[in-house]
Homo-oligomer: 242 residues x 2
């Protein structure tokens, strides 16, 4: 198994080997992919990421779906839900489809078009995500960090390192250079991931918005053992138990 | 002191705060900036990086300079010297100007146009490079990894982490996310940097060309205590002792 990490969505076109045919995992720890994992664990029927605000609202109306997401970290007016994982509990979303509009996460998902499979990965479901890749005998894995404004985001890189490290425990994995950086970051901070999230740019932005509780929710490694897999219709659904 | 790392030259335009006004360090461990440090330590009068082969040859002719560099890792025909640090000893280059044409290193240097100052950094001269930044009271430091084909290169990132960690020992430093990745990488491998260079893409390429000795030469942290600073004419010269 060859494991590469792309440190921000804008670098996907230069990814070693390319996206096509790879088994990709998109990672936006603060907060899109943490929210997707949490919503699916709460019994949400599926999450459809849509980048543009107006398009997201139109899709939600036509599908009878809940509309969630953020701009600048906060829920736009008229949205049913923001982008805080804890707001996606069973009472809010069980049995419902959610259209989720976020900035960096949606861009990263779009960049992964053409992948053989696409999961939403986070610290919350790192082990479940890695196990799914091993069980499908993925030969080429691309862990795609959403990043932030074209730069690497330490929260995403740490989750990529966590998933890559788990893959190494379960399969004979060969790592690209960026994967080594991600693994080193996770290993350096694994006993203080909350401290890393507090220090990284995305975490500091959330704290400045009063959303510090989201950091607590997004940092719990393997607390949401859910495989979040995108279907051909673009909707992320809970993966079947294997 | 704010310290940011740019993980590959192509990301310089998105660097936090931008290049303009920052004190920049370009890093191409395998091998351009290691070679610059080594050449200056050998008494070379200066090193002028020029990206294009033909332009480099023309500049060398007009300046009466030695012509060095590589394409695909090897010296192009007609060049006086390749890009192996050990070939830049005193007998080869003392008192001479060198025009150096390399791929990734030259691109990174060009991307740093507009910086308040520009040094060539490597593992060899990490501490000297950091000390020069502290002594000039740089408020904003940009450590620019050359990278490789638009992707991060672990050798460059490790040197950036080494320099960033040294800055933290000598000044009150605030780190961006990419700096945290670089620091974690260096810390994880600091006792086996040779192993990291053997595993990274650039190192494997050099080994495949029979240039494994270059890895041995480029991995010796702080063995070449030289400040390599670019002048207004684009030539890197040995910094004055402060």
């Amino acid at each position: 198994m060859r494991v590469d990490v792309v440190l921000c969505a804008e670098q996907v076109p230069a990814a070693p080997g390319g996206v096509a045919g790879s088994h990709a995992v998109v990672i936006d720890v603060l907060r899109a992919t943490s929210t997707i994992a949490r919503a699916l664990a709460s019994g949400c029927a599926g999450v459809l990421p849509v980048a543009e605000l107006e398009q997201a609202a139109a899709r939600a109306r036509s599908l009878g779906a809940l509309l969630g997401g953020e701009r600048g970290g906060l829920a736009p007016s008229g949205f049913d839900l923001g982008n805080s994982p804890r707001s996606y509990d069973a009472s809010a979303c069980a049995g419902r489809l959610v259209v989720l509009s976020t900035t960096n996460g949606s861009r990263a998902i779009e960049a992964c078009a053409g992948a053989a499979s696409l999961q939403a990965g986070s610290l919350l479901n790192a082990e479940a995500t890695a196990r799914a890749l091993v069980e499908r005998r993925a030969e080429r894995v691309l862990l795609v960090c959403a990043g932030r404004r074209g730069q690497v985001s330490a929260d995403d890189a740490a989750a990529a390192g966590c998933i890559a490290g788990t893959l190494a425990l379960r399969a004979a994995a060969e790592f690209g250079d960026a994967a080594r950086l991600a693994i080193a970051l996770f290993d350096a901070w694994r006993h203080d991931l909350h401290g890393l999230l507090l220090r990284c740019e995305a975490g500091r932005h959330l704290v400045s918005l009063g959303l510090q509780a989201d950091l607590d929710d997004c940092v719990q490694v393997d607390s949401v053992p859910v495989v979040a897999e995108r279907g051909p219709d673009g909707v992320f659904r809970r993966g079947r138990p294997r």
